[in-house]
C-alpha cells in the first residue's frame, strides 16, 4: 500500500484539513467550556434549593400545628384528616434531615430539628388522642407542650435556614468566582488556540506557497534568458508539485527549442548564401553559354573571303584583311568571357565593318560619332557588334538605296547612350515588340551571323546591370530605317 504523505494532498485539501482541524479544536474546546459552564450553572441553580426545601418543611410544619389547633377548637373531621395528611407529609420531609451526630452546625441543627419534631409529633398525637378521648385536662396540657415545642422547632428551623443561607451564599460566591475564573481561563485558552492556530496556519500555508514564490523568481530569471536555472525537484503530488515539474519541463524544452531554432536559422543562412552563390554561377554559366552561341559559319565565310583575296592578289590588302579578321576573332575569343572597354567594343565594330566592306565591296557606309571621353567605360563584351550586324543583315541588306549605318556614343550623368541607326527596311511595332520580348530568337537565320542575336545582347545587358529596359528600338515604319539604342548605366 502506498504511504499517504502530507505533500501529496492537494492545496485545497491541505487548507481544508488545517482549517478544519483548528475549527474542530475550537469546537471541542467550546463544547468543553460549555459543559463546564453548564455544570456551574446547574450548581448555581441548586445553591438555594436547600433553603427552599427548608421553607417548605416549615410550611408543612405550620400546617400540622394549625390543623391540630383547629381540630382541638372545633373537632371537625376535616381538620383531623388534614392533620393526618400533613403529619404524614411532615414525617416524609423529616426523613431528609440528618439524624446522625455530626460535628457540623448545620447537620447538628438538622438532627435537633428532626429529633424535636419527632417528640413534637408524638406529643401532637397524644394531644389529638386526648381530645378524641375527651380528656380535657390532658389535651390542654399537651397542647401547651406542643406549642412550646412548636416555637422551639420553628425558631430552630429559622436558625437553620439562616445558617444554610449563609452557607449557600458562600457557595454562591464561590461559584461566582468559579464562573469568573472560567470566563477568564476560557478566554485565554481560546485566544491561545486562535493565536496558535493562526501561527500554525501561517507557517504551513507559507511553506505551502514557498515553491510558488521560488517559481516566480526562477521564472523571472528564465524571462531574462537564463535557461539553466531549475526548481528543486519534488515528488509531491499536489498542484504545486505538478506545476513545479511542468515548469522544469517547460524551461528544459524552451532551452531545447531555442537551440534548435538557432541551428535551423544558421542553416537557412548558409543555404541562402549558397543559393546566392549558385545564382551567380548560374548567371556566369548563362553568360558563358550565351557567349558561346557565336556562329562558326561566319568564321568560315570570312576565312573564305581572306582566301579569295589572297588568291586574287598576293598583296598588302589581303594582309590587312586577314589582320582585321585575326583581330576580330582574337577579340571575340578573348573577350568572349569577360567585359571590355567601350573603346575595344568600337574597335571590334570597326573591324567587323571593314571585314564586311571587304566582303561586300564597300557597300556599307558606316560612320560613327563617339564621345572619346567615354571609351574607357567598361561594358559587357560583344554587345555593339551584334547590333551593328543586325543593322547590316536586317536593315540595309537587299535594299535598293545606299545603305548607311550611323553609330553615336553620347553620355550624361546617369547613362551612356549608344545609338546604332540605319536607313534600312525599318520595323513594324509588332516586330520591335517581338524582338524586345525575345520571341524572335527562333527565326534567327544561322547562315551569315556572328551568332549573337539581339536577344542575347538584351539578356546579357540585363544580367550584367541587373536592370531592364536598357535596349530601345525605334523605327518610323517600313523602309524608314531602325535605331537601336543601348543605355549603359554609369
Amino acid at each position: 500500500m502506498k504511504q499517504i504523505r502530507w505533500r501529496d494532498f492537494s492545496l485545497v485539501s491541505k487548507i481544508i484539513i488545517e482549517v478544519g482541524m483548528i475549527a474542530i479544536l475550537l469546537f471541542s474546546m467550546n463544547m468543553l467550556f460549555y459543559a463546564r459552564i453548564n455544570n456551574s450553572m446547574q450548581r448555581m441553580d441548586n445553591v438555594y434549593a436547600s433553603n427552599t426545601e427548608l421553607t417548605e418543611l416549615s410550611q408543612i410544619f405550620e400546617k400540622v400545628q394549625d390543623n391540630m389547633y383547629s381540630y382541638l377548637k372545633v373537632k371537625s373531621s376535616q381538620a383531623l384528616l388534614d392533620y393526618y395528611q400533613n403529619e404524614a407529609k411532615y414525617r416524609d420531609q423529616l426523613e431528609k434531615l440528618n439524624e446522625e451526630n455530626i460535628d457540623d452546625s448545620v447537620k447538628l441543627l438538622e438532627r435537633n430539628i428532626r429529633k424535636m419534631s419527632e417528640t413534637y409529633l408524638d406529643c401532637t398525637a397524644e394531644t389529638v388522642a386526648a381530645k378524641r378521648g375527651r380528656n380535657v385536662e390532658k389535651y390542654k396540657r399537651k397542647y401547651d407542650e406542643t406549642t412550646k415545642l412548636y416555637s422551639y422547632i420553628q425558631s430552630s428551623i429559622e436558625e437553620l435556614n439562616n445558617l444554610m443561607f449563609q452557607e449557600n451564599s458562600n457557595t454562591y460566591s464561590v461559584l461566582r468566582a468559579v464562573m469568573r475564573y472560567l470566563e477568564v481561563s476560557n478566554t485565554i485558552i481560546m485566544l491561545g488556540i486562535v493565536a496558535g492556530g493562526m501561527v500554525l496556519l501561517f507557517q504551513v500555508t507559507r511553506k505551502m506557497f514557498v515553491p510558488l514564490s521560488n517559481m516566480a523568481e526562477t521564472a523571472q530569471l528564465v524571462g531574462q534568458g537564463n535557461f539553466h536555472v531549475k526548481m528543486h525537484d519534488t515528488d509531491a503530488q499536489d498542484e504545486l508539485g505538478m506545476v513545479t515539474r511542468a515548469f522544469n519541463t517547460m524551461v528544459e524544452n524552451l532551452d531545447l527549442y531555442i537551440t534548435r531554432t538557432k541551428a535551423s536559422m544558421e542553416k537557412e543562412q548558409q543555404m541562402m548564401e549558397r543559393e546566392l552563390l549558385m545564382e551567380n554561377h548560374l548567371k556566369e554559366a548563362q553568360l558563358k553559354y550565351l557567349q558561346s552561341q557565336i556562329n562558326p559559319h561566319f568564321l568560315f565565310n570570312s576565312l573564305n573571303a581572306g582566301a579569295q583575296l589572297a588568291m586574287m592578289e598576293d598583296a598588302e590588302q589581303t594582309g590587312i584583311f586577314v589582320e582585321k579578321m585575326a583581330d576580330f576573332f582574337r577579340y571575340n575569343v578573348k573577350k568572349g568571357q569577360e567585359d571590355a572597354t567601350l573603346g575595344e567594343e568600337l574597335e571590334a565594330v570597326d573591324n567587323y565593318i571593314y571585314i564586311l566592306n571587304v566582303r561586300f565591296a564597300g557597300d556599307i557606309h558606316f560612320n560613327k560619332d563617339v564621345d572619346e571621353s567615354l571609351e574607357n567605360v567598361r561594358v559587357p563584351s560583344m554587345i555593339l557588334q551584334p547590333v551593328v550586324e543586325n543593322a547590316v543583315n536586317h536593315g540595309i541588306r537587299d535594299i535598293e538605296w545606299e545603305g548607311k549605318i550611323h553609330l553615336t556614343v553620347t553620355g550624361d550623368a546617369d547613362y551612356i547612350r549608344i545609338s546604332v541607326k540605319d536607313n534600312g527596311k525599318g520595323m513594324t511595332p509588332e516586330q520591335i515588340e517581338s524582338v524586345l520580348s525575345g520571341n524572335k530568337e527562333h527565326c534567327n537565320e544561322q547562315s551569315d551571323s556572328t551568332g549573337i542575336g539581339m536577344n542575347n545582347v538584351i539578356s546579357r545587358l540585363e544580367l550584367y546591370y541587373e536592370e531592364s529596359g536598357l535596349v530601345e528600338i525605334n523605327s518610323d515604319g517600313e523602309n524608314k530605317g531602325t535605331e537601336v539604342v543601348i543605355y549603359i548605366p554609369v
Partner: protein, 339 residues
C-alpha cells in the same frame, strides 16, 4: 525539515501550556466546588450527643471550658453542643432544657443557678434517660447524675481566706456579687464562709458589714447597670468587692476605672481572662480566682461518658481553684513570654 520540527515543537509547547493551564484550572475549579462536599464527607459521625447549657456561653471562661470539654467529648465518641441562642429569641435555661430533652440528647451539662423549675426539668430529663451533669453550681436536691466544679463550701472558704487577707482595720463593708437564686443570703455557703472569715479577721471590736447581692435574672445588660449602681452611691461603695463570675468581675473593673476608685476598692475577681489578668497586673483588681477550665470540661465529659458506659458515675468531681495576685500574674506572663 528543520523548520518543520521547530513548528512541531512550537505547537507541542503551546498545546502543553494550554493543557497545563486547563488542568490547573480544572483542579482549581474542582477544589472550589468540592470544598463544601469534602467538609461534609470528613465530618465524623459520633455516637453520643451532649448539650451544654450555661449562663453566658460567650464568655471566655465558658468558651474555654467548652473547648476542653468538646475535645474530650470527641475522644469519647461524642459531640458536644454549646446551647446559645444565635437568634434574638431570649431562651431561658428551662427552654434549653426543654429543647435538649425534646431533641433526645444523650447527656446534658448544666450550669445550675437555682432558676425556678430547673430542678424539675433536671428530674424530667433524668426520668427520660438523659443524664444531667451540673457544673459550677450544684442542684443538690435534684436527680442530677453528677456535679463537676467547686463546691460552694470550698469556694466560700477559699474566697473567705482571700477576703480576710484584704480586711484591714479600716474595712467597713464587703459586697459579694453572686449569680445564684438564693432566697436567704445567710443560707449561702459562699456568703457565710466569706462573712465568717472577714469577721474573724476583723475581730470583735470592728464591725464589718457583709452584704450579698444576687445578680441573676436581671436580664441583659443589667449586670453592668447593677454594678454601676453600686459605684454611683458614693457613700455606699464597699471596701471589698467580691465578684463570683467573669461578667461581674469585668464590669466591676470597668466601674472602678470609670469612677476613679482604683486602689480604694479592693476587688476580688473571678476567672483569668486576658482583660482580668491585665487588670490584676495593673492593680485594678487585687486578686482573681482561677478555676481550672480544663478540669471542668474534662470532668463533665468524663462523668457523662462514665454514665453512658456503666450507667452510673461519681456524684462529685472536684475542680482545682487558685488565686492570682499581681505577682502570680507577672510570673505567669514571664513564664509564657519566652515561649
Amino acid at each position: 525539515m528543520k523548520k518543520k520540527q521547530t513548528n512541531l515543537i512550537i505547537f507541542l509547547v503551546l498545546a502543553g501550556i494550554l493543557v497545563v493551564f486547563y488542568i490547573t484550572g480544572e483542579s482549581y475549579y474542582e477544589g472550589l466546588t468540592g470544598k463544601s462536599n469534602q467538609e461534609e464527607a470528613n465530618s465524623e459521625v459520633y455516637r453520643y450527643k451532649y448539650d451544654m447549657i450555661v449562663d453566658s456561653p460567650d464568655s471566655s471562661f465558658w468558651q474555654a471550658v467548652y473547648g476542653c470539654a468538646q475535645e474530650w467529648a470527641k475522644k469519647n465518641d461524642a459531640i458536644l453542643e454549646l446551647q446559645e441562642s444565635s437568634n434574638d429569641n431570649d431562651y431561658t435555661k428551662l427552654d434549653y432544657m426543654n429543647m435538649s430533652i425534646a431533641s433526645s440528647v444523650d447527656g446534658i451539662i448544666l450550669q445550675y443557678n437555682g432558676e425556678q423549675g430547673l430542678e424539675a426539668k433536671i428530674n424530667e430529663a433524668v426520668q427520660k434517660g438523659i443524664p444531667v451533669v451540673t457544673v459550677m453550681g450544684d442542684a443538690v436536691h435534684s436527680k442530677r447524675q453528677s456535679f463537676v466544679g467547686v463546691s460552694d463550701y470550698q469556694l466560700g472558704s477559699a474566697y473567705g481566706e482571700k477576703v480576710a487577707e484584704y480586711v484591714t482595720k479600716d474595712t467597713e463593708s464587703i459586697l459579694i456579687l453572686l449569680k445564684k437564686n438564693i432566697d436567704d443570703m445567710n443560707q449561702s455557703q459562699i456568703y457565710t464562709q466569706i462573712s465568717n472569715a472577714a469577721q474573724a479577721k476583723a475581730g470583735d471590736s470592728q464591725s464589718i458589714q457583709v452584704t450579698g447581692k444576687n445578680l441573676l435574672s436581671t436580664g441583659i445588660f443589667e449586670t453592668e447597670e447593677a454594678v454601676t449602681d453600686i459605684f454611683q452611691q458614693k457613700d455606699k461603695v464597699p471596701d471589698i468587692l467580691v465578684c463570683m463570675d467573669e461578667d461581674t468581675t469585668e464590669c466591676a473593673r470597668q466601674a472602678v476605672l470609670d469612677f476613679n476608685l482604683a486602689g480604694k476598692v479592693t476587688i476580688i475577681g473571678y476567672y483569668s481572662s486576658d482583660d482580668i489578668l491585665t487588670a490584676v497586673e495593673k492593680g485594678v483588681i487585687s486578686v482573681t480566682c482561677d478555676v481550672d477550665t480544663e478540669q471542668l470540661g474534662r470532668y463533665s465529659i468524663e462523668a457523662l461518658t462514665e454514665y453512658q458506659k456503666d450507667g452510673r458515675t461519681n456524684s462529685y468531681y472536684n475542680v482545682d481553684i487558685n488565686f492570682l495576685d499581681r505577682e502570680a500574674v507577672r510570673a505567669m506572663r514571664r513564664e509564657a513570654q519566652p515561649k
